[in-house]
Symmetry: C2
Subunit: 288 residues, 2 copies
């Protein structure tokens, strides 16, 4: 049996060449894993649940996801994740930018913001799993060939997600924009600087007490604690992924005083930064 198919020229849906892969992530092997509320200002995050269960909160709506589910987080969407403790999730994500789909706004993949951003990958599950494995095999190499392969694979995933969500009939209600979202975005984009309630009050022309109260109500955490969590999450990542010294890491996330950084890290994580590095950095290898 021989089957062949000649292809006619059809214009691409990508008007501006291949999307660029700007970030590749994997969270796995940690029943206590979470990702605090954050937002990306210019890229689209494509998520694949490879195994386990997790809950995603996008635009204040919580979605329970499981093995085989796919998600789109558009730019500007505030989102957070918590792994299920009993069935820890293995979640792959890749973020793409610098693309424009015919008939859509630049760097948007959902045909409308209120399209339900979660669905099953169905028959595409294995293909997606191997796409991420392949990208991860190439991610450490920064040469143009490896990068182009990753861009092409990320572009394949973006095309596939666009196609699948194009037929998504379910929608959800997005809460009306609230000023606390702008505050969260501001803190997320400036957390390495010295965030204080006074500063926020000045930037947003509101009283410090009002900001603190409304932010805590919206996100369950005070603005200052949110900024500290962002700092410490970044510190954890640098401890595992980089060879930077503690002093360098502390400075990078805005702590001029090393002892202050060490104290707050230990208080919130139950171990010192070096113990954390010791415990987790070998796991980096698991990826490959």
């Amino acid at each position: 049996m021989f089957i062949t198919k000649e292809k006619k020229e059809v214009p691409s849906i990508f008007e501006d060449g291949v999307p660029s892969l700007v970030r590749l992530s994997r969270s796995y092997d940690n029943p206590h894993w979470y990702n605090i509320a954050h937002v990306h200002s210019s890229d689209t995050e494509l998520v694949f649940i490879s195994s386990g269960r997790a809950s995603f909160t996008i635009n204040q709506k919580t979605f329970l996801v499981e093995k085989g589910d796919i998600l789109i987080v558009e730019k500007g969407f505030i989102h957070s994740t918590i792994s299920d403790a009993k069935e820890p999730s293995d979640i792959f994500s890749c973020s793409v930018a610098n693309y424009k789909i015919r008939g859509m706004e630049r760097n948007y993949l959902l045909r409308s913001p209120n399209v339900l951003p979660v669905m099953k990958s169905g028959s595409h599950e294995e293909f997606l799993r191997y796409c991420w494995r392949e990208m991860q095999a190439y991610q450490e190499m920064e040469d143009p060939i490896s990068r182009s392969i990753c861009d092409m694979i990320a572009g394949s995933i973006a095309g596939l997600y666009y196609s699948l969500f194009f037929n998504q009939t379910e929608t959800y209600e997005i809460p009306a924009p609230h000023f606390t979202q702008d505050i969260l975005i501001y803190i997320y984009e400036h957390y390495c600087e010295n965030i204080t309630l006074e500063l926020l009050s000045k930037v947003f022309h509101m009283s410090a007490g009002h900001i603190s109260h409304e932010f805590s109500k919206a996100f369950g955490i005070s603005p200052i604690n949110y900024a500290i969590n962002l700092k410490l999450d970044q510190a954890k990542w640098l401890l595992i992924q980089s060879e930077k010294s503690l002093t360098e890491i502390a400075a990078e996330i805005g702590y001029q005083n090393l002892q202050h950084f060490t104290n707050i890290f230990q208080k919130r994580n139950g171990c010192t930064p070096l113990e954390f590095k010791e415990k987790y950095s070998h796991k980096k290898k698991l990826l490959y």
Copy 2:
């Protein structure tokens, strides 16, 4: 465990956007399958042996291939294939065009023509299998979204093949160009017209006897029989893939006389065109 990798901007190796997928093929489920010597004048064929064994002849050099092997057939390379009878091959191929890799000639993937065009896919085998499955799932749809997904996946494969063969150290000796290759290309590109030895003699300024003798010596088949085989192979494909009538098919491959077509088909295939259609057209479905 959480791993993330921010990507810096690196210029793509594809200078001219994504390669276009121009042809998608699969040969399987037929221990007697073969593909007679032919050549593509403008695209690069990327081949993946999904299972079984086969022999590929490229530029008069024969390569025995098996499950997991990958092959590149550059434009202008004369090639033919025979499935192994005991372990029938399942071979996927996709042909790409309209691309240019930085530092290479347009529509070329091997860094030099004499690079051995066969190697193992190794750890990429499953990824490649799912790439072809995904393309085949979309191949019947000719809408821009499906086509763009196929182009992106074909581009991923092209990038991966380029990367793998970039490190191919083995080479082989390509025979010096011979005029019989030009004759084969001429016949391949004009087989639906009325190919005669007199015509070839006029086009190539050589005696009909010399052409016939040298061509048969090079390819094991006379020029006229080669043209007839090309016609009948095309007829078989149209019988299975299209809803065209016998009269239309006969005319398309250059037989004005339907009885003449039916006779020669039956003589060479052991069944009439309609019996052939009956026997094989349901297998088309197996692909999806």
